[in-house]
């Protein structure tokens, strides 16, 4: 299916000549063809069927695990007193973090006029939405009496019972809820012109109807584009502080408590950097198979991957700096509890998880100082996977080590997940990849109209610029 076998190296900047964002000499129609034929093809690569099969099975497992949990209660998990948060909140923070790269690419890079984002923003945004779905799942099912989940929201009720608005857990409800809604609107708005493309090319009645329904009758009118671009720009400007607020609020869940190892002011920036770090690793991890399987190597070029690897390196250094600062402050604060908590992380019963985290997040990305590594597909695939492993362990380390050894030794206890928790976590990956697989097959994986806007067409035109010029 893939027409392009070799990667064209467009990673070098030559003075006086811009490296192309799209390789293979595609014109407008070429871009449409490359993206649309994935959705229009009656078949899909064998790897897609395999992925969908495995992830559907995992998704079924997730449903079974949640049903079992609801029926039996949270006792089927390995949580205890004092470790009241385990895999559930670890997975929540992990998935929310994954989502952040999508918003960063679609919003922040847009505001910074990074035109290379057009190749990857669509599926990074899709990744955001599916990741936030996985994230929202965990706090929803971990509350014990799930039929009272509506207590989370300020709904008028005959008990006159309202949520406590001074609690970071309540802030979380608003932050994650807003984040999901805004990401979905942003993503869908970007999809409208591309759905119109699929509508206008549709061969079957069903696809013409569905793509027609969701493209809302888009005709590419200049007046429409004018308002569309303004709305897009403002949504980007709204999403930028939003994405920074979301993981900050998530970190408040920990930082506003008095537990040693949680009670630190470094958490909000450190969590945001970690979120972008893990999110970019996930984008790279997803981009590599997608561009190979669906023939998108001309649109998602080595240059895109190279740029993302640079972001991974930079944010990896930030989290490394945060880990070090945490230790320094634990010592410098003079608080015996704080110092103990950090010693226990690195040398206590969970030392192995701490060192998995540290080596995967700090040592491994250092290989991206070398250009050959940033442009080598197997290397970046391994690094991005390790970064995700490391970032998962970061949340595990923060949550479990701090809870299991707090102030009072008589209250200490250890934690080990049960098979239910393990399968729930695996199931969340099933949910994520199932949704992502559907997206890859049936929706335009690359933002067609945005890529067209950055093509070097009309050589004598004033600027072949992106949106918003």
């Amino acid at each position: 299916m893939a027409s392009i076998v070799h990667d064209r190296d467009n990673t070098l900047e030559r003075p006086g000549q811009r490296a192309p964002l799209v390789t293979g000499g595609h014109d407008l129609h070429g871009v449409t063809e490359v993206v649309c034929r994935v959705a229009e093809s009656r078949t899909a690569p064998a790897a897609w069927y395999l992925t969908m099969g495995v992830s559907a099975a995992l998704l079924a497992a997730l449903g079974a695990m949640i049903g079992y949990l609801f029926f039996e209660g949270v006792g089927v998990w390995g949580l205890n007193n004092p470790v009241g948060w385990g895999f559930d909140i670890t997975n929540f923070v992990f998935w929310v973090g994954i989502g952040h790269a999508g918003t960063l690419i679609s919003a922040i890079l847009y505001l910074f006029r990074q035109k290379w984002r057009t190749g990857i923003n669509r599926f990074a945004e899709a990744m955001t939405i599916f990741a936030v779905m996985c994230a929202g799942l965990f706090p929803g099912i971990h509350i014990g009496r799930v039929w009272l989940a509506f207590y989370l929201f300020p709904l008028p009720n005959q008990m006159a019972m309202w949520p406590n608005f001074r609690s970071p857990l309540l802030w979380d409800v608003f932050a994650v809820g807003t984040y999901f809604t805004v990401s979905l609107l942003f993503w869908y708005m970007g999809l409208i012109p591309d759905l119109a493309t699929l509508r206008d090319r549709a061969k079957s009645k069903l696809s013409a109807f569905l793509y027609g329904l969701f493209s809302m009758g888009w005709t590419g009118s200049a007046r429409h584009w004018h308002r569309y671009e303004r709305a897009y720009l403002i949504l980007a400007a709204l999403s930028t502080p939003l994405v920074l607020s979301v993981h900050s609020v998530v970190s408040f869940d920990f930082a506003t408590s008095v537990l040693p190892g949680w009670h630190t002011t470094i958490f909000p920036p450190y969590f945001v950097a970690g979120a972008i770090f893990s999110g970019f690793a996930m984008v790279v991890m997803l981009a590599i198979p997608c561009r190979a399987l669906f023939g998108l190597k001309d649109l998602i070029t080595l240059r895109h991957l190279d740029n993302m690897n640079k972001v991974i390196l930079a944010t990896g250094l930030m989290v490394g700096y945060a880990y070090t600062t945490e230790f320094f402050v634990a010592w410098y604060s003079g608080s015996a509890w704080e110092l103990f908590a950090f010693k226990a992380r690195a040398m206590g019963p969970w030392w192995w998880s701490y060192w998995i985290m540290f080596s995967c997040n700090v040592f491994v990305p250092q290989i991206f100082w070398f250009r050959w590594a940033r442009t080598n597909i197997p290397v970046m695939l391994v690094v991005s996977m390790l970064v995700n492993v490391g970032m998962w362990f970061e949340r595990f380390v923060i949550i479990v080590t701090s809870l299991s050894t707090d102030f009072l030794p008589s209250a200490w206890d250890t934690y080990w997940p049960t098979w239910v928790e393990a399968w729930t976590m695996a199931g969340s990956f099933g949910l994520f990849f199932f949704m992502f697989g559907l997206f890859c097959k049936f929706l335009p994986m690359v933002a067609i109209s945005e890529v067209k806007a950055v093509l070097p067409h009309d050589a004598h035109a004033p600027a072949a610029g992106g949106h918003g010029h």
């Binding site: 802030w171 609107l185 013409a208 109807f209 200049a222 007046r223």
Partner: protein
């Protein structure tokens, strides 16, 4: 109804009655489109538009599109979000509405939300929710405002009936001029062709367009289904239930347990009984009154003067003997070191670790009296036992920490300490006396 199915129908020969609606001109490049737009605008047309697969740079000026008012709309939405965020939190958490606004129905009443002694209205803690609601409503404003100002969704559009026009979302650029434009005339086609149009075509509109019957029916049925949950909720609100509510998940509400009264078998215990026997040493209340010597250190209304060695528990500590012996004394010394020595000191002089520590730091701890204080020296053993059990002055009761027999063992040991510290040479055995009197 999908737009492109309409387009397909128009290609069929026996379509519905149509009338010309607008003129559609195709251009090969964005440049050509922008130049043509300038000409159309200069010719004075007003009801026309340009169409392109991506936003073309400079086309706003070429057409004369004025800046949209969308940002103002978004700002108003955001300001609404801020207001809602402030009012919602203030009303639900920081106002005594039940008292101040008694006319508000219960389900809307807020109250002073007491949590951890925090102030009811602490603005820093309210900022996150205000911020998120501001962003959320602004985003709604941006998305739905864009759609509304653009008149979308508009699933039927005469332009989409033109086959050629389908390439507008691929690689072609178009200008459409509506035929009801005041300037429209025979010159219009020439203008477009002269402006470099690759092709000019008429878009037909269906004369009497109505959505198909099945489409309307589907919507009516869907709307009826959507009303069902609302109807159920409304019914439940007014209906009086006589049955207890349904517990869908039984496990959390009704948990398995062993009931002693039902004499259920219980595999947890070796004897298989769920009704458990008394824990060893459990006392009935009347035991205290039946044996006041052992349990309270009293005989009648006097303090007991002897240690109740007749009691089997105490004999057990003495290794079966019915008198105070060395084994009981060792037990007493052991318990004394654990429970008493930190305040009274190992020798009972009243300068234990706690006393030393608090005196050094001037904490204001009153050290206990020495055991050889004349007051204490004359106290009978029953009084000492009572002091251990119930405490005295600033000394806390230890009855709930030390078993009864151990308390008697401690009493015996305290008596020995008193004896040792008030001892004379006569108390020393005769054969040891000579050793003590010899000069070193």
């Amino acid at each position: 109804m999908s737009a492109s199915t309409v387009t397909k129908k128009s290609a069929a020969t026996a379509g519905p009655a149509t009338a010309p609606h607008s003129l559609v001109a195709e251009f090969a490049s964005a440049d050509a489109l922008v130049r043509a737009c300038e000409q159309v605008r200069n010719a004075g047309y007003t009801r026309w538009d340009a169409h392109s697969p991506y936003p073309v740079h400079g086309i706003d000026r070429a057409i004369g599109i004025r800046a949209t008012r969308l940002p103002v709309l978004i700002f108003l939405c955001g300001a609404t979000g801020t207001t809602i965020g402030i009012l919602l939190q203030w009303w639900t958490n920081a106002v005594n509405a039940g008292v101040e606004f008694p006319w508000v129905p219960t389900f809307l009443q807020g109250y002073n939300f007491i949590i951890s002694g925090k102030p009811y209205w602490s603005f820093p803690a309210n900022i996150p929710v205000i911020f998120e609601l501001t962003i959320l409503l602004s985003a709604f404003g941006a998305f739905f405002g864009m759609l509304a100002l653009n008149g979308l969704p508009q699933h039927y559009n005469p332009l989409l009936r033109v086959d050629r026009f389908r390439r507008v979302t691929d690689d072609r650029f178009f200008i459409s001029i509506a035929m009801d434009d005041p300037k429209y005339g025979s010159a219009t086609r020439r203008l477009l062709e002269g402006a470099g149009a690759a092709a000019v075509e008429v878009a037909d509109d269906v004369k009497e367009s109505a959505p198909p019957r099945w489409f309307l029916r589907a919507h009516v049925i869907l709307a009826c289904f959507l009303l069902i949950p609302l109807a159920v909720i409304a019914y439940m609100r007014v209906d009086k239930q006589t049955q207890p509510r349904i517990h869908i998940v039984q496990d959390m509400d009704n948990q398995e347990r062993y009931t002693a009264g039902k004499q259920m078998a219980n595999p947890v215990f070796a004897d298989g009984r769920s009704a458990r026997p008394k824990v060893a040493g459990t006392l009935a209340r009347e035991d205290f009154t039946q044996d006041p010597h052992y349990f309270q250190g009293r005989i009648g209304d006097q303090w007991a003067v002897g240690i109740p060695m007749y009691h089997p528990e105490l004999q057990k500590l003495a290794g079966g003997a019915a008198e105070v012996n060395e084994q009981l004394m060792r037990r007493g010394r052991d318990r004394y070191a654990i429970f008493c020595s930190h305040c009274h000191g190992l020798d009972g002089a009243g300068v234990g670790r706690v006393a030393t520590y608090t005196t050094e730091r001037e904490i204001g701890f009153v050290p206990p009296k020495s055991y050889v204080d004349p007051d204490v020296l004359v106290r009978p053993v029953g009084h000492l036992f009572n002091t251990i059990t119930n405490g005295i002055r600033t000394m806390a009761p230890h009855g709930d920490q030390i078993p009864v027999a151990d308390r008697w063992a401690i009493v015996a040991y305290v008596k020995a300490l008193q004896r040792a510290q008030t001892a004379t040479l006569e108390d020393v055995p005769t054969d040891e006396r000579s050793r003590m009197t010899q000069p070193k």
